[in-house]
């Protein structure tokens, strides 16, 4: 088990280094290059020259690459072009917002998806099952921004059930401890602030959860149906075990394997979905940061840091998935 983790951590390092290299050379080969992006096309040759020297672009490429790698490894990701702040500061401000949103979405998708998928499988071919198939098909196909604006229109402008945007009401009096607003309120015993943050979280989280939820329902359903057909379920029945025991001990655990894999793969989709969701609900997270960094100022230092971070999160989540796989399935442990 320890060896598996170690091997995966080494793989993680290798992947990140490869990705860093890709990003580095991708940036260097953009039309115009970073300098044009920073100064615009009408800068004088002198200013260009000064900036090129200041940024170290006059050095040979391998020197630049080495410096970039060294900076990244020591945690220095440069300064944002847009605000001049260190990139790490910019990102660490936005990171908790997105994590809060993504976690809420995962909780919804997994918490509803697995039971619903299981129920659909047990009611195979009947009304509940057919309804689930249709609804999840819609869930998978619906564009996030469309659903987002639709929900927003119905439940904030129309019915005023939820707040339309932002993470918390102005003047909620929240104290920033961790950056996770719901958690902060609990830590500082500011229950109202916590409830307010949670209220703001509902619609964005539901919007972001829709696609993973639909996929998890479908995978769970298919997986449970597969397991119910297995010979060992017939053996369990032949033992006269109670239905609840069979369900809990024999069906669920085996059926969860593909579901867990799916959850890992959906992290990528979740990161992409966060960009759209955050745009719709004006959620000040990484998604907002990405769109701002591209559309406004071409903030390359922030962008490359965001790409690295996204990759890091994706890889770590999938490492966790692999580890939980080993917990669920003894056949994986041996290898």
């Amino acid at each position: 088990m320890v060896r598996v983790v170690l091997r995966r951590l080494i793989q993680l390092g290798v992947t990140l280094i490869a990705l860093m290299t890709l990003i580095f050379f991708w940036l260097r080969n953009l039309p115009g290059g970073p300098v044009d992006a920073l100064l615009g096309e009408r800068a004088t040759p002198q200013t260009r020259e000064t900036l090129i020297r200041a940024l170290g672009y006059d050095q040979p490429i391998w020197v630049q690459y080495w410096r970039f790698v060294r900076n990244v490894v020591t945690g220095d990701l440069g300064n944002s072009i847009r605000t001049g702040e260190p990139v790490t500061a910019v990102i660490s401000r936005a990171f908790p917002a997105t994590v809060e949103l993504a976690l809420a979405a995962i909780v919804i998708a997994v918490g509803l998806g697995i039971p619903l998928g299981y129920l659909a499988a047990r009611h195979r071919g009947r009304l509940l099952d057919n309804a689930t198939i249709v609804v999840t098909l819609i869930g998978i196909s619906i564009p996030i921004f469309f659903l987002g604006y639709l929900l927003k229109d119905w439940l904030t402008q129309g019915a005023h059930v939820f707040p339309p945007s932002g993470r918390i009401s102005t003047g909620a009096g929240n104290t920033d401890v961790t950056g996770f607003f719901v958690l902060d309120g609990l830590l500082t015993r500011e229950w109202d602030a916590s409830a307010d943050a949670l209220w703001h979280l509902v619609l964005p989280a539901v919007t972001l959860a829709t696609i993973p939820l639909a996929i998890i329902v479908r995978i769970t359903r298919a997986s449970v149906l597969d397991v119910l057909d297995e010979d060992y379920i017939r053996t369990a029945d032949a033992k006269g075990l109670r239905d609840a025991t069979i369900r809990r001990r024999h069906v669920l655990r085996n059926a969860l394997l593909p579901v867990v894999t799916t959850i890992g793969l959906q992290t990528g989709a979740l990161l992409a979905g966060a960009v759209l969701t955050e745009k719709v609900y004006n959620w000040g997270g990484l998604g907002t940061l990405i769109t701002d960094s591209i559309s406004g100022s071409r903030d390359y230092p922030v962008l490359q840091a965001l790409i690295l971070l996204a990759a890091f999160v994706f890889i770590v989540v999938n490492l966790l998935v692999d580890l939980s796989y080993a917990v669920i399935d003894p056949r994986v442990r041996v290898r």
Partner: protein, 328 residues
């Protein structure tokens, strides 16, 4: 009084867009306490479906089961599902064909044996595991304490089948149903498993229904044999009678098809012509008629009934049976 009395059991599968298929067509047989009864026939003759119907393990939908399955005078087919669950694993144990897929891959072997004791004998987990260790030892699994913690993939095929036998016999059932228990195993292991089964049922007095296509298994184990063809019993006889003098042409053909060491070299092995798909419906005569070497006009047209023969426990469904040799 028989322990198990199957009367006129029928199973019809219905699927959308297809003709209903009668897999088991009025099968009757009985098993006395401690007796070993064989159900023999080729693939698709309904022997496995019969066993699943007895246990109530057929899929809930898409089939109709009719007839009676009397186990100590209780009709299992008419029990409420939860009452049948109370009896399965306790009164009737069952082992299946493929020992790898019949064990749950993610649960340690110990729990898979222990859970049946927890369920039916109210044992605590600890007590059940202790007993599971003894059970594994009794079925000849070496180092049972270690094996309890292992998973199915860490065991050989023969050991897995031994474990499943331990599960089926854990609650000392009065009846054990074995559905082709050796088909998926190596030949050398087959013999060991059969010897183990014979030993265990002999010592515990458990009745055994042995489902097989292998006449060698029948010869070694069964007291009475039911030969099934196309969902019906075509011949029933004691083991010695059946092997000495098969009366039904199908049984006769099956026995002729067994390779023999003392046969003439160079002589081709006998085979029954055609396949199950050549059958005619039982309502139009004998289903075996199109493949039968002894077919006569009377075989086709009307249903042939299963008539008792003069042999002990004997019965035969044939208009033109293989003539009985009169002992000189």
């Amino acid at each position: 009084m028989p322990l198990l009395d199957v009367r006129d059991l029928s199973v019809v599968f219905r699927r959308k867009g297809a003709e209903p298929f009668t897999a088991v067509d009025g099968v009757s047989f009985s098993v006395d306490p401690g007796q070993t009864v064989g159900l023999v026939g080729e693939s698709g003759c309904g022997k496995s479906v019969t066993s699943l119907a007895i246990m109530g393990l057929l899929p809930r939908r898409g089939n109709t089961v009719a007839g009676e399955v009397l186990f100590e005078d209780t009709d299992l087919l008419r029990l409420r599902p939860q009452d049948l669950r109370d009896r399965r694993g306790r009164d009737i144990g069952m082992i299946f064909q493929d020992p790898l897929s019949s064990l749950n891959p993610v649960i340690p072997l110990g729990l898979q044996v222990a859970e049946v004791l927890e369920r039916h004998q109210g044992r605590t987990r600890q007590a059940a595991l202790r007993e599971a260790r003894q059970l594994l030892e009794a079925v000849g699994i070496p180092d049972p304490a270690r094996r309890l913690k292992e998973f199915p993939h860490q065991l050989s095929g023969g050991m897995r089948q031994r474990a499943l036998i331990a599960v089926a016999l854990a609650c000392k059932p009065r009846l054990l149903i074995a559905d082709e228990p050796t088909t998926a195993l190596d030949v050398t292991i087959q013999a060991q498993i059969l010897a183990l089964l014979k030993d265990l049922v002999d010592r515990s007095g458990t009745a055994l229904v042995m489902i097989t296509h292998d006449l060698g298994v029948v010869a070694g184990l069964c007291d009475t044999v039911n030969v099934l063809y196309a969902g019906k019993v075509v011949e029933r006889a004691g083991r010695h009678d059946l092997f000495a003098q098969p009366r039904h042409p199908y049984t006769h053909g099956l026995l002729q098809s067994v390779p023999r060491l003392d046969a003439d070299r160079g002589r081709r092995l006998h085979q029954i012509p055609g396949s199950v798909s050549d059958n005619i419906p039982w309502t139009e005569g004998c289903a075996f008629a199109p493949r039968c070497a002894r077919v006569i006009d009377d075989c086709i047209g009307a249903t042939v009934a299963l008539e008792p023969t003069r042999r002990r426990d004997g019965a035969l469904r044939c208009t033109n049976p293989v003539p009985q040799e009169v002992p000189a």
